[in-house]
Amino acid sequence: MNAPAMKASLPANTQPVYRFHGGVHPPEMKHLSNAAPIVPAPLPARLVVPLQQSIGNRAKCRVAVGDLVKKGQLLAAADGTVSVAVHAPTSGTVVAIDEQVVAHPSGLAELCVTIETDGFDVWGDRTPLDWRAALANGDGKTIRDYLRDMGVVGLGGAVFPSHLKLGGRDGLETLVINGAECEPFITCDDRLMRERAGEIVAGIAIVAQLLVARQVLVGIEDNKPEAVAAMREALAASDIGNAHVVVVPTLYPSGGAKQLIKLLTNKEVPSGVRSTDLGVQCFNVATVYTIFRALEHAEPVISRIVTLTGNVARAGNVEALIGTPIADLLDFAGNQSDSEGYIYGGPMMGFELPDTQVGLTKAGNCVIARSAAHFPTKAPEMPCIRCGECATACPQELQPMDLYWFSRSKNFGKAQEWNLFDCIECGACAYVCPSSIQLVDYYRFAKSEIWAAESAKKAADLARQRHEFKQFREEREQEEKAARLAARAAPKPEAAAAAVDPDKAAKIKAAMERAAAAKAGAAPANETAAPAVSVDDDKAAKIRAAMEAAAAKKAARAAAEAGGETPATKPAAALDEEKAAKIRAAMEAAKARKAATDGGVTAPAADATEPVAKAAIDPEKAAKIRAAMEAAKAKKEGRALAPSVSDNTPVGEVAGSLANEEVQVDTPSKPALDPEKAAKIRAAMEAAKAKKEGRAPAPAVPTDTPAGAASAALASEVGQVDTQAKPAIDPDKAAKIRAAMEAAKARKAAKEGGEA
């Protein structure tokens, strides 16, 4: 090569260059593709555009299958801050939005939009941004949001959203423009700088203004003298102050952001620190070019320059649409039949393509057809001899052999201590390794294991937090309920209660005693149920409290109503009015809810005008639910899955819902029935509570009993109260309740027998 001659022809640097540690000098192989100018790639028949085109969140799809799209139309919008939009690269029809294999080492599928091109390549509407005005107003956010919506990402290979790097603080010391292009084979930035230096410089001017940069340094390796000359000329013609092209020696990986920053500014970016904190920001030349195109011409990133090289007949650079199948590009470049594989990216940091049908992404700067001529078979991996060559070559000044040992033995903690995450995976260590160990593969393995472990840890922490909150919430709810009940029970005028409703109080007491007796009987029968029983006590106390509170309320109201009247009938009537009002309110709420969910006007209308029809519907619904449950039960029994629990549930649910519905339907027509209805509701609720109680601790039997007994007692009491107050109204209804209760009791007894 005639590199020395080229260097001699370059004017001397006006800025000093500082060396970084290590580095290697692999064969450049740039002559294969750097001679021919950039040509547009032919329009492919279909484009496969992945929606994940940047670091961060995948863009949210904004088109549907069958949509006609124009060139530059939004396909997917940015989702969150760390995300950028994706646009239609040409006009055509969206034929599929599905998972397809993407250019990723995993070979896994990702969500892609497939567009069948129509060949017209018509632009859609473009909305330019008056960025000069925005810049003059100091409105950087508008420009950054615009760039995000234009899909601008770092085109050097990392595809980091550019708008995140343009958040100007109080001025930048140095803006570094990366034109080093240090990887062998790749020449896309070289050709871009040679042919479009003016637009790159215009982009640099915009970025420099956005970041308020005091100095601009463009770093270009000395193997690209034409690019250096073109850029120098363009910079000289521009009005950017204090901007210099700095020629850096050709040494891989001088194009790494940290390495180039060190080369140009002598600032070493420490571990865990961003270069912005040191007053330096680095942009690739292709990125500033797209920033200019986006702001000046309202062109989203829908194409990029790709180097097609290696084992192809016409190696060179093409400007290809994002989403162009790699196979089409290879055909265009004259792919040879003896290619053994295809490398996406450079030979040092790229990866083998899983499939040549994958669409080009914004990260795809190079496709190399691999053949034995350029990529001879690697020597078999030999044991590490600890020669230390890798440490000499490492540009990040790490200890690659130690990292290798730790990664190989899956000692990830130690690998992290040795700063594994500062490794830029440049491959210099593997390149110099005399034992030809694929060191980077081990580092990548270790890194992804650590990331996976970290995300699992995060998920576990979240689950722990949510579980603890649920426990806290349940506890709080219980406490609140207890407090509420206690508060209601506290101011009870006991004497009044006794005076007003002695028979009721007596009945409650009797019910409680029966319940207690039942519990006492159950406790010795099942000694393992000790915690359940203690829970029971608590529950019984609560029920008692609730009942007493109810009695107190009733008494108070009766006292307020009228002194002289017979206590048996009057309180019931008073109660009725209030209850009816409450139920009516509940009904209205339910109606509103139904209207909201159904969205229909018919349902509430029917509700209001013909309660009978609703009553007719409800049993039908209930029957349906019951059928579904029975089917499920049958299935479950087939699998022998916790039958006791499932047995309990459906009946309670159905009964509860039925009771509620009946109340809703009946009340307006027969308000006089209320106390009985209320009692029914109460009974149903008790039953449900009892069931729930039975489910929470393991043994269902002993816990069921007291509450069940209480509810049964209540039910019988209901019958009596009814007969006292309005004996003529609905004896058959009361009988029905009693029958239902007995059936429930019988069922429970049967179960008890079964379990015993």
């Binding site: 994940q52 993407v102 990723h104 080492p105 995993s106 896994l108 599928a109 990702e110 078999p380 991996e381 694929q438 593969d441 081990y442 990548r444 393995f445 890194k447 992804s448 294991e449 990331w451 996976a452 995300s455 699992a456 998920a459 576990a460 922490d461 979240l462 689950a463 722990r464 949510r466 579980h467 909150f469 649920k470 969910t597 639910i625 579904a628 449950m629 089917a631 499920a632 039960k633 299935k635 479950k636 899955l641 916790a642 629990v645 499932s646 549930t649 459906p650 649910e653 819902s657 489910r695």
Partner: protein, 185 residues
Amino acid sequence: MSFLLAVALMAVLAVILGAVLGWAAIKYKVDEDPLVDKIDAILPQTQCGQCGFPGCKPYATAIADGEADINQCPPGGDDGVRKLADLLGVDFKPLNAENGEEKPKSVAVIDENTCIGCTLCIQACPVDAIVGAAKHMHTIIEKECTGCELCLAPCPVDCISMQPVGETVQSWKWRYPVIKLKVTA
């Protein structure tokens, strides 16, 4: 005289040191057993109860108290047992088959057409990952689901199924480098 001085000196020292110790006992008081938290950090927090304890924390407490073995957590797998063994300085033992076996990570999915809105699964979910209301369709927040399977049993219409979480481009991991051996005749 010097004898008294020595006694006095010792007494003063004792008082001062005692005060320091007393202050330190209050200031650096350890409320909870730190070992429980360390064990709990290793457990996967699925809260599935397969270990026989009602959640990960109770199991961690039981391990710390020596009441439970370290190999009762199927979601943690053999890796989890190994980490517990490392932490506690005991020998590794394979997962106890009685507690179940390690399964690939799954999430529960509700068939929303079958769901009757009974809220039983909502009550069963240990991490509140199910949203819904009575008589309204329920659904599972996939991101929050730990795959504990506790919602399967209470469902009266059997509309919940477990679906394994596949590998995506985002969750994909580089494999351990394998050197292919050439077979020579």
